[in-house]
């Protein structure tokens, strides 16, 4: 089996249309999200600052801009780029097209994935995976398996979550949304804040800036809405990631937290971290800056984490002010120059739990 690397990343998010803008924005004052009035609320909502009345045309415009950024960074030969297979992670695919376009505007997920691949000029097989909040990292996992098996040398992974009424109405109906703000790990956190993101990653067999040292996965069947409060499956998944990467806990420089904003989910992750690490290494959450971008959150948070580290920074965790003693986590920004090993956690609805170990290439 071959090794796999992260070759290039790109991102459009509430922080801006590209990663450089996002990293710069993240070093300033926190962004105030817009408000979404679906389901009778005024929910904070992180939108990509790209206007457009036609949902599908807006999606294509965002896709083309992200593709252009990625193409520059990846520096693949035109033939290699054109041959890229495209694996898309999304929980809502193109359901937002229904909001204004009605039934006629709805397209099956497979057609939507082909349309996005086409926007990137990627002519290899296109497919879409939905494992709820871990969709994008599941797509990444599949890409790694295709590279490791030798089937492809490079694979394009997209994490796509764009505005739609159904997702907001669904989360509002389950009373999971915060009416105030995203506050990862903060004592006053009161739910999740949704956001849009369109992220792209190229997984490659050719050495790149970050080596994928391990990607562990688990399924916590305790509840359909999230991990068991004990954090047992999260701890087990991180343990497998560390073992596969041949790292000790002390070797980890930074943990990118899931920190979705729910009290039980956050507690489960914190318990798992405290079980494995004594004391926990530096931690960061990006949901105060991007919102919870659901199926896009894996590639989106990965792109932003690696871009920040490339600029020598661990970004501040926006929304975190007062530690919660029950969690015992204090995400903090700072100098990122010494960070060479990152553990990247993600979990979500349906019980999927993932832990990605990334090592800076020498």
């Amino acid at each position: 089996m071959s090794e796999a690397f992260v070759r290039a990343t790109a991102l459009a998010s509430a922080l801006g249309p590209d990663l450089d803008t996002a990293v710069e924005r993240l070093s300033g004052a926190p962004l105030a999200p817009a408000r979404n009035t679906e389901a009778g609320g005024a929910w904070p909502y992180f939108s990509i600052p790209v206007a457009g009345d036609d949902w599908m045309k807006r999606a294509e415009a965002i896709a083309r801009a992200v593709a252009e950024s990625l193409r520059r960074e990846a520096a693949l030969a035109p033939g290699e780029w054109a041959a890229l297979p495209c694996i898309i992670g999304s929980s809502s695919h193109s359901v937002g097209a229904w909001d204004k376009g009605g039934w006629a505007a709805l397209v099956p997920p497979l057609e939507f994935s082909r349309m996005l691949a086409q926007s990137f000029g990627a002519r290899g097989p296109a497919m879409l995976v939905n494992t709820a909040c871990t969709s994008g990292l599941s797509a990444f996992d599949i890409a790694v398996s295709l590279v490791a098996s030798g089937r492809f040398r490079e694979v394009l992974v997209l994490g796509v979550e764009l505005s739609n009424r159904l997702t907001v109405a669904g989360f509002a109906g389950m009373e999971l949304l915060s009416a105030t703000a995203a506050r990862p790990c903060d004592r006053a956190r009161d739910g999740l804040v949704l956001g849009e993101a369109f992220a792209a990653v190229i997984v490659s067999a050719a050495p790149g800036p970050w080596r994928i040292a391990a990607l562990a996965s688990g399924l916590d069947a305790t509840s359909l809405t999230g991990p068991a409060p004990s954090g047992e499956v999260i701890a087990g998944t991180m343990r497998v990631a560390l073992a596969s990467a041949k790292w000790t806990g002390a070797a980890v420089d930074l943990i990118k937290l899931q920190a979705g904003g729910g009290r039980l989910g956050d507690l489960a992750e914190a318990r798992a971290i405290r079980e494995l690490f004594a004391p926990p290494p530096q931690t960061v959450s990006l949901k105060g800056a991007l919102g919870h971008t659901l199926g896009a959150s894996g590639p989106a948070e990965l792109a932003l984490t690696l871009a920040s580290l490339a600029h020598g920074r661990v970004p501040a965790t926006w929304g975190f002010a007062t530690p919660d003693d029950e969690l015992g986590l204090k995400p903090a920004g700072g100098d990122g120059k010494g960070v060479s090993r990152v553990l990247f956690n993600l979990s979500g609805f349906g019980g999927n739990v993932m832990s990605l170990a990334l090592e800076k290439s020498r």
Binding site: M1, P85, S91, S92, H93, V95, W98, D99, W103, L106, P108, P109, L110, S113, P125, A126, M127, L128, V129, N130, T131, A132, S138, D141, I142, V144, S145, L146, A148, S149, R151, R165, L166, T167, A169, G170, F171, G173, M174, A216, S217, G218, L219, A221, L224, S244, L294, G295, F349, G350, G351, N352
Partner: protein
């Protein structure tokens, strides 16, 4: 890698609820027709394989739970009623992984993919990659019927890293004239039919990839 228990289910839509109750003793909580269909096929395959232990689950479809998604839009946004939990984030296909795990099959990895007909060999490449991390991968293709008179389809097989008595050897093969074009819809059914009385290897292709199935010894 090795393939066990190619299993083909065709279920008339009106018979699905009764079959679910008969196999699982009750309705599967919170699951729609697509997840129920996945469960029936996956469980039938595991029963036929006759072994237990941790597994990964990888299954595909062309449309997924499109009917459930349409119903959620109709209920939630047109009529203002709460949508069936989890349907609002297109999670009905993914539920099958959790439901399997809740029935004492430790699931370490699971993903449902919307995959084109000709790309079915990619599932085998993905499973091959996953087998580096686990011993068994359950692979399926599920399609919910969208018209009366057409049966639901739920086809599954179990892939293993190590050989086992009765297992079919499975390996990538160079594209050859001798290979037969197969689709995501029919490749498991063709393997199942061939496996009944297999003497010579079976070569199936999809897109630019072919796989060789060598008879069990």
């Amino acid at each position: 890698m090795y393939l066990l228990a190619p299993t083909v289910l065709r279920i008339a839509p009106e018979a699905l609820p009764a079959q679910v109750r008969a196999r699982f003793g009750s309705e599967l909580r919170r699951s729609g027709a697509f997840a129920q269909l996945c469960m029936l096929g996956a469980q039938a395959c595991l029963d036929a394989a006759g072994e237990d232990g941790p597994l990964a689950v990888l299954w595909s479809s062309r449309l997924g739970a499109l009917h459930a998604s349409r119903a959620a839009l109709d209920e939630s946004l047109q009529r203002g009623e709460p949508a069936m939990p989890f349907t609002f984030i297109g999670m009905q296909p993914h539920l099958a992984g959790v439901l399997l795990a809740q029935r004492a099959h430790p699931v370490t990895r699971s993903a449902h993919l919307h995959l084109a007909d000709e790309d079915w060999p990619l599932l085998l490449s993905m499973a091959q990659g996953w087998l580096a991390e686990c011993e068994r991968v359950l692979v399926g293709r599920v399609e919910e019927s969208d018209s009366g008179g057409v049966a639901h389809r739920s086809d599954w097989c179990l892939l293993r890293k190590k050989p086992l008595a009765g297992a079919i050897r499975l390996e990538p093969a160079p594209q050859q004239d001798a290979s037969l074009a197969a689709t995501a819809e029919d490749w498991i059914a063709r393997v199942a039919a061939w496996a009944i009385d297999s003497k010579a290897p079976l070569l199936l292709r999809g897109g630019d990839q072919a796989w060789r199935f060598t008879p069990k010894k």
